[in-house]
């Protein structure tokens, strides 16, 4: 006679049930368990181990400080996820100030019902992205909201780090004649996320360019390149970055459309959807405004990093009309480049 298949098990519910519950945000045992089993092991460091209300840091000299919130649907997309985005995005904002991010805070807003496995994947991805650039996630907060009140998970990160650049970097420093350099091909992140969200099923999978930009950006500064402004080309893409800087600096810009690197698959997707690659978001690309004489060397330096191997000069700063960005098209006729007026909306036909 064969033995009955019997394995003793506790009939009580396992507690977590595999998804985030409102109790996880209640400040009691359930919340402690979530923090102890999911969040703290992922971010583990000396500051968090103190279990204090905040991190205590020892800082000297000028510090760059920034914050950003991350809401993306879907949470996971080819080439990245909301976790890597939340670390790299804030690290990049610091890098654009000519500074190296050292510490981040993390605010997690979790939607009731979020699978705990998804949360584990996200925090592991945050840790990996942070380790890759040597930043520590030193303080944080977790809240849970009712089902339907968030798209699974929202993240806010704030970051800070010492300024490396010796001369000021910012839109006001941009001057007539500056070379305009992009760190690589544009438009990949926006198309990757849109394709993942809408399930377009393009022939090739377009991966997000999500990446940390501190190394190439600071390499320019450390090599003594006259860097006047750096800007990561996130929402609104190259167009928004350029127009915003032109308006602030009171200069004009002349871009050469043929010189702007756009991958073939991204270009094709934009054609189909009626989008302009200049308006599509990036999460691992920046535009640099450097003195014309330094342009060649700047591009060589950027090309030494995998993340900016496709760096290219795409135009130059000109004097007037102030605030206007023009782009010379393939037929040799210039057009005005403007910011998107609202959301990016695919056309009817």
């Amino acid at each position: 006679m064969s033995k009955p298949d019997f394995s003793p098990a506790c009939p009580a519910p396992a507690g977590d049930g595999g998804t985030v519950q409102l109790a996880h945000g209640g400040g009691g045992r359930a919340m402690e368990r979530l923090l102890d089993t999911v969040i703290r092991p992922a971010f583990d460091n000396a500051q968090l181990a103190r279990r204090h209300d905040g991190a205590v840091l020892d800082l000297n000299g000028p510090i760059a400080f920034t914050t950003d919130s991350y809401v993306v649907k879907p949470l996971f997309f080819p080439g990245g996820d909301i976790g890597s985005l939340a670390v790299n995005g804030t690290v990049n904002d610091i890098a654009m100030c000519g500074a190296r991010a050292t510490h981040l805070s993390v605010g997690l807003i979790l939607e009731e019902g979020l699978p705990l496995d998804d949360l584990r994947r996200v925090v592991a991805s945050m840790r990996k992205a942070a380790d890759a650039v040597g930043v520590q996630l030193v303080t944080g907060d977790t809240k849970v909201v009712d089902h339907g009140k968030a798209d699974g998970l929202f993240i806010n990160t704030a970051g800070l780090g010492p300024v490396v650049a010796r001369s000021p970097i910012g839109p006001a420093e941009v001057r007539n004649g500056d070379a305009i350099i992009v760190s690589g091909d544009i438009g990949r992140h926006g198309i990757a996320v849109m394709a993942a969200r809408e399930g377009f099923g393009f022939e090739t999978v377009i991966e997000s360019d999500c990446a940390a930009l501190g190394d190439p950006a600071l390499a320019l500064v450390e090599a003594g390149i006259a860097v006047h402004c750096l800007r990561d080309m996130t929402r609104g893409g190259l167009a928004s970055a350029a127009v915003e800087i032109a308006e602030t600096a009171g200069v004009a810009m002349a871009l050469d459309e043929a010189a702007i690197p756009v991958r073939e698959d991204v270009r094709a997707a934009c054609e189909v959807l009626g989008l302009d690659p200049l308006h599509v978001a990036n999460e691992g690309r920046f535009v640099a405004f450097v003195a014309a004489g330094d342009a060649k060397r700047a591009i060589e330096i950027l090309r030494g990093f995998a993340v900016s191997a496709g760096a290219a000069q795409i135009g130059a700063v000109t004097e007037s009309p102030a605030g206007q960005v023009a782009s010379r098209g393939v037929l040799g006729v210039s057009r005005v480049v403007d910011m998107l007026s609202g959301e990016q909306l695919p056309r009817i036909c």
Partner: protein, 370 residues
């Protein structure tokens, strides 16, 4: 990119521009019918490559622009109802009716989904059997077959919770209306390539003959448009008024027969009001009797049309080709894509939006349509 870059070759473009200049002995005024062509012309600066005598004016072929305000009001009313989901192409969300736009309805909690194909709306219908799902079916002959297919499929599957708010329009009646206008200045047409891909071009023969205008079926790439202009100007210079096909890589004389058949099954030709232009007989498509049960107007009440509100906006004149966007005193000042006074500034295919986006405000009109 293959099959595209060869139609944007700068050398070839210059060659066409020179050829057009060589054959042009008098001023000619041509209209490109389709908003996609308008966009390409303004984006690539094709009008700037043309000789002084040849003027392109922009036609009514922007589906978002000509959809009447009362249909947008109806879509908003449907979206505001509990238990309904409204599916729309993204373009339509920003266009105001008489009381706000669909973005506003969305922010009030209306369930509005941006879809890329009417078949996405069917998927949403299947996934939400307890909700009424309404697809906002707009556009010219280009989008009509796919939209017809959605109704056809819904009937086959017995999707009782699916309906369509239909505001389809047809190109040839609009061309006739423009040519009948007392102030008409159009001497030749670049017909819309994709519309002709579906419909063929036989229906343009009577128009060319009656009004003595050349009509050239034209594509959307820069070289397509330049070649279309060349063929139209050559006809005008030679005193011909024929229908020719520049876009032969996509368009056949008889068009796409299966697409026409599904349209004929699902739709019937009806009178339609065009925003900014007015009522045009036999210029639109509505659901046929067999498909009347899928008509959102049957389910949620008919669209009621009042008189169009008076504004300083001249979009009607722009859509008829009587004026160019920079001729409007409000262009770029009181009327911008963020605060549009009229639909031609809202839609990405609208002529005003194209000028604003690619030409900016400070520049004077390159060639006033006088």
């Amino acid at each position: 990119m293959k099959f595209r870059d060869e139609y944007r070759d700068p050398e070839a473009a210059r060659g066409y521009a020179e050829a057009i200049a060589r054959i042009t002995t008098r001023p000619w005024m041509l209209m490109e019918v389709c908003g996609g062509q308008t966009h390409a012309i303004v984006r690539y600066g094709i009008d700037e490559l043309l000789p002084d005598g040849v003027t392109l004016v922009h036609g009514p072929g922007c589906p978002v622009c000509v959809t009447p305000a009362e249909y947008i009001d109806k879509a908003i009313e449907i979206a505001d109802r509990p238990g309904t989901t409204l599916c729309s192409f993204g373009d339509m969300l920003r266009v105001a009716g008489t009381k706000g736009d669909l973005f506003g309805a969305k922010s009030r909690g209306g369930d509005i989904r941006v879809v890329y194909s009417p078949l996405d709306a069917l998927r949403i219908t299947r996934e939400n059997p307890t909700r009424e799902v309404v697809f906002f079916a707009v556009g010219f002959e280009t989008t009509a077959p796919a939209n017809a297919m959605a109704a056809y499929q819904a009937m086959r599957e017995g999707l009782g919770n699916f309906s369509m708010l239909v505001s389809h329009v047809l190109v040839p009646p609009a061309m006739r209306t423009i040519l009948d206008g007392a102030t008409n200045r159009i001497q030749g047409f670049l017909a819309a390539g994709h519309v002709c891909t579906v419909m063929g071009f036989e229906e343009y023969f009577p128009i060319a003959a009656k009004y003595r205008v050349p009509i050239v079926v034209t594509g959307f790439e820069p070289l397509d448009i330049l070649e279309g202009v060349y063929m139209t100007v050559r006809q005008l210079e030679e005193g011909r008024a024929e229908v020719e096909n520049q876009y032969s890589r996509s368009v056949r004389r008889e068009g796409n027969r299966p697409a026409q058949e599904i349209m004929a099954k699902v739709f019937r030709v009806i009178p339609r009001r065009w925003r900014g232009i007015g009522d045009i007989a036999e210029s639109g498509l509505g659901l046929s009797e067999a498909y009347a049960s899928f008509d959102a107007e049957t389910r949620f009440g008919p669209v009621s049309s009042g008189p169009e509100a008076e504004t300083e906006c001249i979009s009607g004149l722009v859509l008829r080709g009587d004026r160019k966007p920079p001729d409007c005193p409000a262009f770029g000042t009181r009327c911008t894509p963020e605060h549009p006074l009229g639909v031609t500034m809202v839609s990405s295919e609208g002529a005003c939006a194209a000028y604003h986006r690619y030409r900016g405000i400070p520049r004077p009109p390159l060639k006033a349509a006088s």
